[in-house]
C-alpha cells in the first residue's frame, strides 16, 4: 500500500537449538533453544556477560558456535559464512564505514548483491526516507550526530531486505530523550516491514516496551522467554523476578501456604516447603497510617499486614516511593519499598509516621521447593 511494503522482504522464522559457545572451560552460552515467529521482535535481555551479545554474534556468523543449530527460514546456518547468511546487523557503535558517504554506506550491501546502479540509487533513497534522513546522503559519518549515525546503520542493514534483523544494544550510546524517540521509531519500522528481529539489551524497560517477546538470559542460560506481561507477572526464576521490574524480597521457612519470617508470618500465593524466597512488587502494597483499619480478607483472598515506620519518602515525579522499616523490635527487621502513583494516596503519610502495609497473598511471588 505505501512505499514501506516495497521494502518488505520475505520474513523468516528463526530457530535456535542448543546453541552453545565455549571459551576453554568457560561456557558463555549454554544450550540456548528458542523459536521466533515471523515478524516478531524478540529481546535478548540480561546483565553484561550473560551471553546475549555472543548469541547474537553466533546467529550473524561472526563468532563460530561450539555446538547447536541455527535455522533461519528453514535454512540451517552452521558452516555458512557470515557474508553468505543474508542477515542484517546493527552494531552497538554503528560501525559505519568512515571513508564512505552515507549513501555509499547504505549502498554497500546492494553492491555486494550486484544491484545495478539505477536500482541502488533508488533503494538508497527509499532507505533514507524510511529513517527520515533525506538530504544527508553526501555526508560522511564523522559529520553526523549519534542519532543520525544510528539511523544510517539501520538503513544500511534494512536496505538489503535481509531475512532477519539483529540489533546489538543500538540505543545504549544515545542520551535518554533520544533513546525513547529511537525506541519508537525502530519498533515502527520493524512492524511496518514485518521483519523478524532480535534486539539485544541490558535495559529491561526497553525490552518490555519494544518487543513482542523477551528472552531473559542469565549466565549463558535462558531463564525464561515470554511476553513482557508474562515476565513481569509470572517470573519463572528469582533472577527474572528481580531483573524485570522492582521487588521486595523476603526469605523464610515455608509450610503450606505460609512463610515464617523472623518478625511474622506471611500468607503467600502458592504452597511450598522448606526454605523459600518471596517477592512483592512495590506498587502492589497499600500503605496507611496505623490508626486506620487494615483491609480484611475478602473475595480477592487473604491480606497480609505488616506494621512499620516510614524512614524515607522520595518524590519521583510520577511516583512516590516510601521506604518503611518493618519488624523493628523483633531482632531482625527489613526495609520495604512501597510505590504509589502521585495523587493516588488518599491518606497522607510522612516520615516517622507509624504505618501499616498491606498486600494480597495472591500478589506474592514465591520461589522455593514446590509443594
Amino acid at each position: 500500500m505505501d512505499r514501506a511494503s516495497v521494502m518488505v522482504s520475505a520474513p523468516s522464522h528463526l530457530g535456535l537449538r542448543g546453541l552453545t559457545k565455549r571459551y576453554g572451560s568457560f561456557v558463555a552460552v549454554d544450550g540456548l533453544s528458542l523459536d521466533v515467529a515471523k515478524g516478531e521482535m524478540v529481546a535478548f535481555l540480561g546483565p553484561s556477560g550473560c551471553g546475549k551479545t555472543t548469541s547474537l554474534r553466533m546467529i550473524a556468523g561472526l563468532t563460530p558456535a561450539s555446538a547447536g543449530e541455527i535455522v533461519v527460514g528453514g535454512r540451517e546456518l552452521s558452516g555458512v559464512k557470515a557474508h553468505q547468511r543474508d542477515i542484517g546487523v546493527v552494531f552497538q557503535n554503528y560501525a559505519l564505514f568512515p571513508h564512505m558517504t552515507v549513501a555509499e554506506n547504505i549502498a554497500f550491501g546492494l553492491e555486494m548483491r550486484r544491484c545495478s546502479r539505477a536500482e541502488r540509487t533508488q533503494r538508497v533513497a527509499e532507505a533514507l526516507r524510511l529513517v527520515h534522513l533525506e538530504g544527508l546522503d553526501k555526508r560522511k559519518p564523522a559529520e553526523l550526530s549519534g542519532g543520525q549515525q544510528q539511523r544510517v546503520a539501520l538503513a544500511r542493514a534494512l536496505v538489503i531486505r535481509p531475512s532477519i534483523l539483529l540489533l546489538d544494544e543500538p540505543l545504549s550510546n544515545l542520551d535518554a530523550k533520544l533513546r525513547e524517540e529511537m525506541r519508537n521509531e525502530i519498533r515502527d519500522i520493524q512492524q511496518r516491514l514485518g521483519i523478524t528481529a532480535i534486539f539485544v539489551t541490558h535495559d529491561q524497560g526497553e525490552a518490555l516496551a519494544m518487543c513482542d517477546k523477551v528472552a531473559v538470559l542469565n549466565q549463558g542460560r535462558l531463564d525464561q522467554v515470554g511476553t513482557p506481561e508474562d515476565l513481569y507477572e509470572r517470573p519463572a526464576t528469582p533472577f527474572v523476578a528481580s531483573f524485570v521490574g522492582r521487588g521486595n524480597w523476603f526469605e523464610g521457612d515455608a509450610c503450606g501456604a505460609r512463610v515464617e519470617l523472623p518478625w511474622g508470618t506471611l500468607a503467600v500465593a502458592r504452597p511450598c516447603t522448606g526454605r523459600a524466597r518471596l517477592m512483592v512488587r512495590p506498587h502492589r502494597i497499600r500503605i496507611e497510617p496505623q490508626r486506620l483499619q487494615p483491609p480484611a480478607a475478602g473475595s480477592d483472598g487473604e491480606w497480609n499486614t505488616l506494621l512499620g515506620t516510614v524512614e524515607r519518602v522520595v518524590y519521583a515525579g510520577d511516583l512516590v516511593q516510601y521506604e518503611v522499616r518493618v519488624g523493628a523490635g523483633a531482632g531482625a527487621n527489613a526495609a520495604v519499598t512501597v510505590e504509589r502513583s502521585t495523587g493516588a494516596q488518599r491518606e497522607p503519610v510522612a516520615v516517622g509516621m507509624p504505618v501499616s502495609l498491606s498486600f494480597l497473598a495472591a500478589d506474592t511471588l514465591v520461589f522455593g521447593n514446590g509443594g
Binding site: 550473524a60 556468523g61 561472526l62 559464512k81 557470515a82 557474508h83 553468505q84 547468511r85 543474508d86 542477515i87 542484517g88 546487523v89 552494531f91 552497538q92 557503535n93 560501525a95 559505519l96 564505514f97 568512515p98 571513508h99 554497500f108 550491501g109 555486494m112 548483491r113 544500511r156 542493514a157 538489503i160
Partner: protein, 264 residues
Amino acid sequence: MDERPISRALKLTAAAMFLLLLAPLLVVLPMSFSGDAYLAFPPSSWSTRWYGAVFKNARMVDAFFVSVKLGLAVTVLSLLVAVPAAYALVRLRPKGGGWLLALFTAPLLLPTIVLGLGLLIVFASLGWLGSAWGLLLCHLIVTLPYALRMLVTTLSTLPPAVEEAAATLGASPAVVFRRITLPLMAPGIMATSVLSFLVSFDEVVVSLFMTTPKLSTLPVAMFHHVEDRADPMVAALSVLLVALTLVVVLVVDRTIGLGRAFVK
C-alpha cells in the same frame, strides 16, 4: 590550565644542550659553501663548487641512484610482506602470535654490526655477496621489523566491528580487505612507506658488509670517501640529503597527512 613557569636555569641549560644536539648539522651547512679544497673552519673563501662536485662525482651519483632504487624496491617489498603478516597477526590471531611478533621484532634488537657479519658469512657461502638481490634481502631484514610493528599498530586501532559490518552485508573476506581494511589502513601504510624508505636509504653498517666497489649505496660511498679524506663535498652532499629527507616527509605529510597516522 595553570602553566608552571619554567625556571630560567632550566631554560638556559636546555638551550645549551639543544645547541650541542644540533651542532653537527649547524656546522655542516656553512661548510658546504666552503671554497677550500679541504675541510677547514672558518673557510678562507665561499663557493658552491662542492655542490657542483657532488653532481660530477660519478661514484656518488651512481651510489645515489642505487640507494633510491633500492629504497623504493625495499619499501614495496616490505609492504607486500608486512601487510599480510600484520593482517594475519591482528585479525586472525593464530596460536603463538605473540611469540611470532616478538620473533619478527627481534632483528631490531640485534646490533647491525653483528647482523652484518652474520649475513656476510651466510651470503658468502651462498655466493650472493655483491649481488643486488642479496643487498635487497639485507635491507629487507632491517626494514621489516619497523614496517611490521607500525602496521600492527595501525590495524590494532581499526575497530573490527567495521569489517564485521561489511561481512554481514555480503562482503567476502577478500572484498572486506580490499574495500574496507586497506583504505582505512592508508595513512598507516603511507607512514610505514616513508619510514621503510628512510631506514633503507640511511642504512650503512649492514650494507658495508654487502657492497663492492661496483655495487655501492650512497651512505657506504660516503663512508669510504670520508675514511680516505675529509673534504667539503660530503658537507654539500649532507645538506642535500637532509633537504631531500625534509622534502619527502613534508610532501607526504601534506598530501596524506602523517599526523593522522600517529595521532589517532
